[in-house]
């Protein structure tokens, strides 16, 4: 621990978000009942911006622990801090665009987004499983609530309920996993666990514990076969919330999964890589096959997010610094394009989901070239067409996989991405086909400034990640370097030839 660094600085973005969350709450309570809550949204945006700035600033901190070894800021956690702050910023803008002045519970919504972000950020910087657990719960509970925010509808509470029940079920497994690991090693600090397991073999309890941790996190990242909640929740939750919860908590959960498997159990990789291998294959396949037969756009995107979780897990299974970097990079790329596409869905469909089915999106490009074009662009990125973040992310993931000799995984993955093209294109072609005369489509109100801002962020993010990925890539590699000491050396390129 570097004594020169004030511990508060190591959790600065979290502190900022908390303060702004409380400010939003207080302002909400003091404002007159009938006043518009949108200014609160801008206040929250301000908070997210400040947190983003603080996260960037954290890059200048020397790596180290704080609060008696409970949190650690290093390149890895700061990388994800920035990502989460960015996602929250964009999601808030989307929410600001989608809601109307009369939308119920807006103050709470904005506060919940900010508080949830605190949990997500702590997930990425925690090295004590207790804090991981608390942070995971903060992020989960806030998303449970937000999922059911449209409580007047029949689907809103239902989706919250499903999410809640299955999520808590998973939490129990996660917790049992922690308990068993604690029992086997006598510690809940991630570095402590790593130093307690000194060989490639561990007591059976450790394996069961690790399996339960993976089950628990598998639920959170919606990896198959723990994905059943995803489509329902995405369908029932308001679109701006889906934009957030399909990216930020997932990125955080992936970060902590990385921390756990690479940071705490590096020597047991022989045992967990096959598990991740299968999770990856199942997620990709089930996600893509499931998406094929969806008619509802949000459900389709839910299945697609399962598939994308699978691609990300491919990078995990690669077991190399490149794999970690690829996973981190992919998280960013996926966030950019997915938040972007939900920005469009949220605006076109509105807070109350006027448009749900693919047919409803027919002719979107004709009614609103901006929205249609943006949506097509994000779909293209999701397919993985070059010069978009989606392509480079996928590419890098599979480079990592193939460098580690996971040929079959790469083939399965890329064939899957081929299948995926089919359903993305169904949406894309719908957008670009002439609308039926009787179709009820209206592209919604004029895009607001907030939406434009969100689209600018996500479109430029997706493009930059596709064309000039160097900057983010080097950050991702710096983040991955956090683990190089513990992860086994990747196969050196070109060995086959020499």
């Amino acid at each position: 621990m570097n004594p020169a660094v004030n511990p508060a600085l190591r959790v600065l973005p979290e502190i900022i978000l908390t303060i702004f969350g409380i400010l939003v709450m207080l302002a909400d309570a003091t404002m007159p009942k009938t006043a518009s809550r949108k200014p609160l949204g801008w206040l929250a945006v301000l908070g997210a911006l400040a947190a983003l700035a603080a996260s960037f600033w954290q890059q200048s901190l020397p790596a180290g622990d704080a609060f008696y070894g409970v949190v650690r800021t290093d390149a890895f956690s700061v990388f994800f801090h920035v990502l989460i702050a960015g996602i929250v910023l964009a999601s808030l803008l989307i929410a600001l665009d989608a809601v109307s002045d009369t939308t119920e519970g807006l103050g709470e919504l904005f506060a919940l987004i900010l508080f949830g972000a605190v949990g997500m950020m702590f997930m990425t910087s925690a090295v004590e499983l207790l804090l991981v657990f608390i942070a995971l719960e903060i992020s989960s509970i806030s998303t449970y609530i937000m999922a059911g925010f449209r409580r007047k509808t029949a689907k809103g509470p239902e989706s919250a309920l499903k999410y809640f029940l299955l999520g808590s079920f998973a939490t129990a497994f996660f917790l049992y996993g922690i308990a068993l690991i604690f029992g086997a090693t006598g510690t809940t600090r991630i570095p402590g666990i790593a130093s307690a397991i000194t060989t490639g073999h561990a007591p059976a309890i450790v394996y069961i514990g690790l399996a339960m941790l993976i089950i628990g996190l598998g639920f959170k990242v919606s990896a198959a076969p723990f994905h059943v909640w995803t489509p329902d929740v995405y369908e029932g939750a308001p679109s701006p919330v889906v934009a957030l919860m399909s990216t930020a908590p997932k990125a955080a959960a992936f970060a902590i999964l990385l921390r756990i498997v690479y940071g705490a159990f590096p020597l047991l990789h022989d045992h967990w890589t096959p598990v991740l291998w299968w999770l990856a294959v199942l997620s990709m396949t089930i996600g893509n096959l499931g998406a094929l037969r969806q008619r509802n756009v949000k459900r389709l995107l839910a299945y697609s997010s399962i598939a994308h979780a699978g691609y990300l897990l491919v990078a995990f299974a690669a077991l190399s610094a490149d794999g970690i970097a690829a996973a981190s990079f992919y998280a960013v790329a996926y966030a950019a394009m997915n938040v972007g596409i939900f920005a469009v869905v949220s605006h076109a469909g509105g807070y109350d989901d006027r448009l749900t089915l693919i047919e409803d999106y027919r002719g979107l490009a004709y009614r609103s070239p901006l929205l249609g074009g943006a949506m097509a662009f994000f779909l293209i990125s999701l397919i993985g067409i070059p010069f978009t973040g989606g392509f480079f992310g996928k590419f890098y993931v599979f480079v990592a996989a193939l460098q580690s000799g996971l040929i079959w995984l790469a083939i399965i993955g890329l064939v899957n991405s081929g299948i995926a093209a089919w359903y993305y294109l169904r949406v894309a072609t719908a957008i670009y086909s002439r609308p039926a005369e009787s179709s009820p489509i209206h592209a919604g109100p004029r895009p607001s400034f907030a939406l434009l801002l969100a689209l600018v962020i996500t479109v430029s993010g997706t493009l930059i990640l596709g064309i000039f990925p160097g900057g983010v890539l080097s950050s991702a590699r710096a983040a991955a370097a956090t683990y190089t000491s513990v992860s086994p050396a990747p196969p050196v390129p070109g060995t086959a030839q020499r």
Partner: protein, 164 residues
């Protein structure tokens, strides 16, 4: 005496849990769960966790489960119906749980040599010792918990608020 207490309250726990599983009316299930929780409190005492035992009773039995019964009463939940879904669940539920149990039990039994035996009063954690660790080493998680609670309050208010 430790053994006797363990057996009594352990059996009570299992009986309560099974009752929760078998009872058809939610309020009976809730009461069974209260029995489990209270028995667990006694087991905590046996394991030297005084503070937790009390907290278990206050928080779980006294607050959380009251909330449950309150909601059951408020919504006037009736007996559970048997539906098509439940048959399916039986097929997955029991074998799944049985496999899990078998696995865990096997592991614990095969490792039983590594574990201590507990004597009453051998290692009792005082509340002061507990708070010593809590407010120093784990201060940050403790503080962060407040955010969690804040979220829970916000959420409960937002979701269960009366219609205007």
């Amino acid at each position: 005496m430790h053994l006797a207490l363990f057996l009594i309250f352990g059996a009570l726990c299992v009986a309560g849990a099974l009752n929760l599983l078998l009872q058809r009316h939610p309020i009976n299930s809730a009461l069974s769960l209260i029995v489990v929780m209270s028995s667990l409190a006694v087991l905590y005492l046996l394991l030297g966790a005084e503070f937790l035992a009390a907290a278990q009773v206050i928080v779980y039995a006294g607050a959380i489960m009251v909330l449950f019964t309150f909601v059951i009463m408020l919504l006037n939940a009736g007996r559970e119906e048997r539906t098509r879904g439940s048959k399916m669940a039986y097929v997955i539920g029991f074998p799944g749980a049985a496999v899990l149990l078998a696995l865990l039990a096997y592991v614990f039994i095969s490792h039983s040599g590594d574990f201590h035996r507990v004597h009453v009063g051998e290692y009792v954690v005082s509340t002061a010792a507990l708070s010593g660790v809590l407010f120093r080493d784990l201060l940050l998680p403790f503080e962060v918990t407040s955010i969690l609670i804040l979220i829970a309050i916000l959420g409960a208010v937002a979701l269960a608020r009366k219609e205007h």
